[in-house]
Assembly symmetry: C2
Homo-oligomer: 77 residues x 2
Amino acid sequence: MAYVTSSLIQLANLSAVRIKARGMSIGRAVDVAQIISRKTENAGYIIGEIKIDSEVLESKDGKSRNVSTIDIEVKRK
Amino acid sequence: MAYVTSSLIQLANLSAVRIKARGMSIGRAVDVAQIISRKTENAGYIIGEIKIDSEVLESKDGKSRNVSTIDIEVKRK
């Protein structure tokens, strides 16, 4: 819920926010975007562009690994 | 990798596939889509439309819960 609150505070001043996550947190980013667009249905925030990508990160054993990322835009209608 | 193989087999016959996931599996769906678009860069598959939504499911304790969903299109260029 901290991310939801934080996004809503930003949306009070901006016309759009982008929620970004990497790896295991991707599901949570989708949850946050959904909660905002569902709870603020009357306030008029909607899901905008969604992008997925991958980043190369170095793991603890020194090998490079591909990690998926997501970028969800939430904006005013 | 089973989902990657399965998607590639379908893409051999169809011009697009949709990878869908719910809840905790959302991250894996993004991984599958990324692996396909990265590995088949020369074969020309790209990420198409991405949709996120939520579904109401009944949990074990009988309460209804909102679960986030994702739907990723992978298509021929």
